[in-house]
């Protein structure tokens, strides 16, 4: 099992200051992570350059091309593979004739923006409330704790669908998606941060800071936040791909972004009508969605293994128990998580 992890061969010694850089180096040393990273960078570039890309193709994502559709067949694009041609690189949308390539690259913007934005909202709310619960009075802790439990018990997709529907349609949809996904998904982060804060609070260095006269806000900012970074980043890396799926799902159901704005999920919402006649149209957004989520998931998984050595050894449980001890110690030193906090993280996620 040892050769599977590149870090096993490395020298375990590293100064705490180099922790972040070390994690980066180890992450980049894995081929799958590198591939996932490249996919994400590529997607981000595509999203950023969407207008440019569709301009190079000479198309835009919103104009109709009825002349390219076979009206006798119910609006299926003429030509093979969904109407692929020199003008329309990936064909045109059945029913409307809008350019698929242009819609796909513009859809990347929505997927990434909404997912990243929603993750930021979730993490911000979660960290603030978790810190407040962990550091505040008993009453505040109970209040936030119970609210978090209710949030976690909410059937979030159901709630999101309903919220998306009752907000007036002149509110910008991508922003609304970001807010709805973000506001419904902070429960996990809040619970995690609260548990971490409670155990970090007991440590000597925090007590020392308190004795030196530091206020709650200063303790939260200067003493706790740096130690919270690792578990929160890990958790955010798990949230991100699920937010991509969330956006796609809502748009697929027809309550997310509305045409003429395109998103991958929204392109797929018409797919049930066209999957027989034009499979290409269905497969393209599916493949992009899959690649995006997979890349984020692989990256998130790797980040978790690097930042929380215990998670790594848990996943490999039974295969080589004895060997995990020293490896975990070696990489556990430089990372900001000490043994105490990651215990709490386990309890919080269990």
């Amino acid at each position: 099992m040892a050769p599977q992890e590149p870090r096993a061969g490395e020298a375990p010694a590293a100064s705490p200051a180099a922790g972040g850089r070390q994690v980066w180096r180890r992450l980049l040393a894995r081929r799958t992570v590198l591939a996932a990273g490249l996919v994400i960078v590529l997607l981000a570039l595509i999203a950023a350059a969407a207008p440019l890309l569709s301009a190079i193709e000479g198309q835009d994502p919103t104009s109709f091309h009825n002349d390219l559709l076979d009206s006798a067949a119910g609006g299926v694009p003429t030509g093979s593979f969904g109407g692929v041609s020199a003008e329309h690189w990936l064909g045109v949308e059945p029913g409307t004739g809008r350019d698929v390539f242009a819609r796909l690259v513009h859809g990347a913007r929505i997927s990434l923006l909404v997912a990243v934005g929603a993750t930021l909202v979730q993490v911000t709310i979660g960290v603030l409330l978790g810190l407040a619960a962990g550091l505040g009075s008993r009453l505040l802790d109970q209040l936030i704790g119970n609210t978090t439990e209710v949030m976690l018990a909410l059937p979030s997709l159901v709630f999101a669908i309903s919220l998306m529907a009752i907000v007036p349609s002149d509110f910008p949809r991508p922003l609304l998606l970001t807010l709805v996904i973000g506001l419904l998904g902070w429960g996990g982060t809040s619970r995690l941060v609260r548990a971490q804060t409670l155990s970090l609070k007991q440590l000597d260095y925090v007590a020392a800071a308190r004795l030196a006269g530091a206020g709650r806000w200063r303790i939260a900012r200067r003493e706790l936040l740096p130690s919270l970074a690792a578990p929160v980043i890990t958790y955010a890396a798990v949230l991100l791909p699920s937010n991509v799926i969330g956006e796609a799902g809502l748009s697929f159901l027809g309550v997310g972004v509305k045409p003429p704005t395109s998103s991958w999920g929204q392109m797929l919402s018409g797919a049930t009508t066209w999957f027989r006649a034009d499979p290409m149209y269905v497969l393209l957004p599916s493949a992009l969605l899959f690649a995006t989520v997979l890349a984020f998931t692989v990256l998130g998984d790797a980040v978790r293994t690097e930042l929380d050595p215990r998670a790594a050894s848990r996943l490999r449980v039974g295969t080589a128990r004895g060997a995990d001890g020293p490896t975990a110690d070696g990489s556990g030193g430089p990372t900001p998580t000490g043994p105490g906090p990651s215990n709490a993280a386990e309890e919080a996620t269990a």
Binding site: M1, Q4, N146, E149, V150, A153, L154, P155, S156, L157, V158, F159, I161, S162, L163, M164, A165, I166, V167, P241, I245, A248, G249, F252, L253, G254, V255, G265, L268, A271, T272, F275, R276, P279, V282, L283, S286, L289, F290, V293, L294, T297, V298, D301, R314, L315, R316, V317, G318, T319, R321
Partner: protein
């Protein structure tokens, strides 16, 4: 055990009460005038006022909520045109669009979603636990890495993408299966099965890799336990060891996860039903959302919340029943 159940039941009621309050607040107070929504766009102010009175929306908000709760526990009456319409407990109100009782609408569609969820569960347990056990018993690097890769992939596909790909392959290209339709089990079990096969597989494929990985690690952990080593030292055969002694402990987390997932499955069920056009709760939700039929939306949200909370309690209990080391307090 009784005390534990009681405590859980009280906690569950608490969460549901808060949930109902939140749902009620969000949907009835925030987005404008429910009476206008109930009546439609073209209603005159007089008509709107009439509807408001009929649905009891003219009372103060806290009273409305109290009436809503009263309806849930004891039923309530609505004045409908000429006479009174009695809505039996648990009453979730009356649909603005169809005039049906929300409870009836939900009850009529529950079998569809239940068929979908339970069938998918059977498929993912067979697939997931089966491969998980196999790979645990013949452990090796390859099967472990394969499972890890499959789990990652399974986590990365939205259920409607898998469903669409399955549709393209099995319905459109190979033509092995008809487009899924729902036929009640009581009407024709065979058609029920074939009609739901693709939805089951779509849902199960996503879950099963996770179960395989969990089964595998849990089995390996149990096999490394002291009591299993003792049995082995006494000369119990490996086969007996696995089937008689290890399996019970190893499947405990699997059972608990199943209960939790089943409760939370509704989200994927909405997408699956919407993709395959199955007339279940998810389809009802999407259509009532697009019609802004508030009572139905509120009712569905509460019912799904109820199932999620219930599933959590069941998971706890199952955990205790299948693993005697767990003591419920």
């Amino acid at each position: 055990m009784t005390r534990f159940l009681l405590r859980k039941a009280v906690g569950m009621l608490g969460v549901l009460l808060v949930l109902s309050l939140v749902v009620y607040a969000v949907f009835y107070i925030a987005p404008g005038d429910p009476a206008q929504l109930a009546c439609g766009e073209k209603c005159s102010p007089a008509q709107v006022a009439q509807v408001r009175e009929r649905l009891g929306l003219d009372a103060p908000v806290y009273l409305q909520y109290a009436h809503f709760l009263q309806g849930l526990v004891a039923g309530r009456d609505f004045s409908a045109g000429t006479g009174l319409l009695h809505c039996q407990a648990p009453c979730l109100g009356i649909s603005y669009r169809s005039g049906e009782q929300v409870t009836d609408m939900i009850a009529a569609r529950l079998p569809v979603t239940a068929s979908l969820a339970l069938g998918a569960m059977v498929v993912w347990l067979i697939l997931g636990v089966g491969t998980g056990l196999l790979s645990a018993l013949r452990r090796g690097r390859l099967s472990e890495r394969l499972l890890t890769a499959l789990t990652l992939a399974g986590n990365s596909v939205p259920v409607f993408v898998i469903g669409l790909v399955l549709l393209i392959v099995f319905c459109a290209q190979l033509q092995w299966l008809p487009f899924p339709t729902y036929v009640p089990l009581t009407e024709d079990p065979q058609q029920w099965f074939w009609g739901l096969l693709l939805p089951w597989i779509s849902l199960a494929l996503i879950e099963s890799a996770k179960y395989a990985r969990l089964t595998r690690s849990s089995m390996l952990e149990t096999l490394a336990d002291d009591h299993i080593r003792t049995f082995r030292a006494y000369g119990v055969s490996e086969r007996h060891l696995v089937t008689r002694h290890a399996l019970r402990g190893a499947l405990t987390p699997v059972i608990a996860l199943t209960a939790m997932d089943l409760g939370a499955l509704f989200g994927s069920a909405v997408l699956t039903e919407s993709l395959f056009g199955l007339p279940g709760l998810g389809k009802l939700l999407v259509s009532s959302v697009s019609l802004i039929d508030l009572p139905t939306v509120v009712g569905l949200t509460l019912v799904t919340g109820f199932f999620v909370v219930l599933a959590n309690v069941i998971a706890d209990v199952l955990y205790a029943v299948s693993d005697r080391r767990v003591v419920l307090t």
